[in-house]
């Protein structure tokens, strides 16, 4: 039974508005229930007070104007209220300041925590990155599983290499974004190397033997290799340097992608210029190939040198630009090469930038610069003698240099200038 219903029944009982049965019930409830009893007493008191107040003469009804505070009393309350409002406002401001300070402190604390977290991130990021890199290196390619993990074939090795290379790319990309520190990169590299070693370690001895066997089978025979080297030597571009030649030869030797070393991401040391792996080829073939390759290599070097000499000779014969300089390095204007013999050049001056100066070159040391788009720039130093015939000069070469792209002088033997 709810409280309202209880009060209603008690009130009805108290004011004599219920029948005998209901009165008996309420009395019973009041005897048995303390709450009913308390409510009965309370309402009994109120009804008594109410009856008495009714019996009393009505309080004097005051006019509405009288039941108001005076203007002074109102003003006093208003001013007090204003003071209270100001005080509260001040307190609230102070509280808000304190709160702000607390917030600042909290922010500082949070910042410190954040810094701490960052330091933790700095600590953990490389490890996490290394772990990811290791996972990429090992599980990165779904094709690996598709191809069968236990089948040791060339394609698997290639696949493995591409995986490892891709992990290198990832590493570069990450470091390029400057997301990770140097320590991270080191950790990445370590992880990749570890991963590769781990991958290798997981291979069985039989798998490695199969790989090696496959490498040997894929190697060209001695004849094929000799033919390749010969062809390569012949097909070398005239402009190729010795270094390029070496690079091509070595590239050729490893281009089969069948080397076991290719499975590693670590740089594979370049083989000797001969481009042969002695342990891979044995016996008679090996010595033949070696001697033939050496011969071809010498020929190639010789040819390359000859081509270089011819280059300088052709440059001296027909330069696109030719200038004469005094010993101080002042340009004395353009010249025209009239004739060239080994160690000597005949030329004449074609223009003169300063007409006020003597047009005739005095006997002495000079430099001549010859340049051609394809051949480059050649600097010749020597002595100039004026010939009796017209305005011709004879230039006897004493030194020569090639001017490289960085404007540095590289000595060139005088003999190389001859045809």
């Amino acid at each position: 039974m709810n409280e309202d219903k209880m009060e209603e029944r008690i009130l009805a009982y108290l004011v004599g508005e219920c029948d005998e049965e209901e009165a008996f019930e309420v009395e019973k409830m009041c005897r048995e229930n303390a709450l009913w009893q308390a409510e009965k007493i309370r309402y009994g008191q109120i009804l008594g007070l109410l009856e008495e107040s009714i019996n009393q003469p009505d309080p004097e009804s005051l006019p509405e104007k009288e039941t108001k505070l005076t203007e002074n009393q109102r003003n006093e309350i208003k001013s007090l209220l204003a003071v209270k409002s100001l005080t509260l406002q001040k307190n609230e401001d102070e509280n808000s300041k304190e709160n702000k300070n607390e917030m600042k402190e909290n922010v500082m604390t949070e910042k410190e925590e954040k810094d701490e977290k960052n330091s933790k991130v700095i600590y953990w990021a490389p490890l996490a990155a290394a772990a990811v890199a290791a996972m990429i290196a090992y599980w990165g390619s779904p094709e690996k599983e598709a191809g069968g993990a236990t089948v040791a074939s060339t394609s698997t090795v290639e696949q493995k290499q591409s995986e490892l290379n891709s992990s290198h790319i990832d590493e570069k990309t990450l470091s390029g974004k400057e997301t990770f520190s140097a320590e991270t990169e080191i950790a990445l590299q370590d992880a990749i190397a570890d991963s590769a070693n781990e991958t290798l370690a997981l291979r069985t001895a039989s798998e490695i033997k199969e790989l090696e066997q496959a490498n040997i089978e894929n190697l060209p025979s001695g004849k094929e290799l000799a033919a390749k080297i010969t062809n390569r030597s012949l097909s070398i571009d005239k402009n190729n340097s010795l270094a390029q030649l070496e690079a091509n030869v070595s590239e050729d030797s490893v281009s089969s992608d069948s080397s076991l070393a290719a499975a590693f991401s670590l740089p594979v040391p370049l083989p000797a210029p001969a481009g042969l792996q002695p342990e891979a080829i044995s016996g008679e073939d090996s010595s033949k190939i070696k001697s033939k390759a050496e011969t071809n290599f010498s020929k190639a070097i010789e040819k390359s040198t000859t081509e270089s000499s011819n280059r300088w000779y052709s440059l001296i014969k027909g330069p696109q630009e030719s200038f004469v300089f005094n010993e101080k390095g002042d340009s004395l204007g353009k010249i025209q090469i009239l004739e060239s013999t080994p160690g000597k050049i005949q030329f004449k001056r074609t223009n003169w930038p300063n007409q006020n100066r003597n047009f005739t070159l005095e006997t002495g040391a000079y430099e001549i610069r010859l340049s051609q788009e394809q051949a480059g720039t050649l600097i010749l130093k020597g002595n100039v003698i004026r010939l009796e015939e017209g305005n011709k000069y004879e230039f006897k070469i004493t030194e020569a240099w090639e001017l490289d792209k960085e404007e540095k002088r590289n000595p060139v033997p005088i003999e190389d200038l001859n045809p």
Partner: protein, 176 residues
């Protein structure tokens, strides 16, 4: 008094200024004194640091206490002579629950004043209901016949009037 209660102060002031003065005047029998006590009650409300849960009850209680205190201070007890008043203070020390004791009589008198004040503030139809029931001693049926309300409606209205009075008196500490 909190900022929220200061904002509500104007509302309470407007609603209770006149009733409180009338109530205080009923106790003090002096309009000017009544105004002073009500003003003091409002001032104390502003100064109050503790949260006031029931401002209306708080104001009535404070006004009553201030009024009684004022009477004591000026030795002008309502319906009591100076001697009786002295007897009151003397008997307060050793008074029990004797309803005939001056203290009990005074308290009873103040309670009656408070109820009378409550009734005086009721709307006329509610006042009529109270009078018919507690002055004329009419039954619900008779009131129903007088007012045209159903018996149930008469009972419902009276119940809610008395419930409001009981809540006010309880909040002001007049009844338990």
């Amino acid at each position: 008094m909190s900022t929220e209660q200061i904002e509500e102060f104007a509302k309470h002031f407007e609603q209770l200024e006149s009733p409180l003065i009338a109530y205080a005047c009923q106790i003090l029998k002096n309009l000017e004194d009544a105004r002073d006590q009500v003003q003091e009650a409002f001032k104390r409300m502003i100064k109050e640091e503790q949260f006031i849960e029931n401002p209306k009850a708080w104001l009535y209680r404070t006004t009553r206490n201030l009024s009684i205190s004022h009477i004591r201070k000026h030795q002008r007890m309502q319906k009591e002579g100076e001697e009786k008043q002295l007897d009151f203070f003397a008997s307060k020390l050793d008074s029990g629950d004797d309803p005939n004791s001056p203290v009990e009589k005074l308290e009873r008198s103040e309670k009656i004043n408070r109820v009378a004040h409550f009734v005086s503030l009721l709307p006329e139809d509610s006042k009529d209901l109270i009078k018919m029931k507690f002055d004329k001693k009419l039954s619900y049926r008779e009131i129903s016949n007088e007012t045209g309300l159903t018996e149930g409606n008469v009972g419902y209205k009276l119940h809610h009037l008395l419930q409001g009075l009981a809540d006010d008196l309880k909040a002001e500490g007049i009844t338990s």
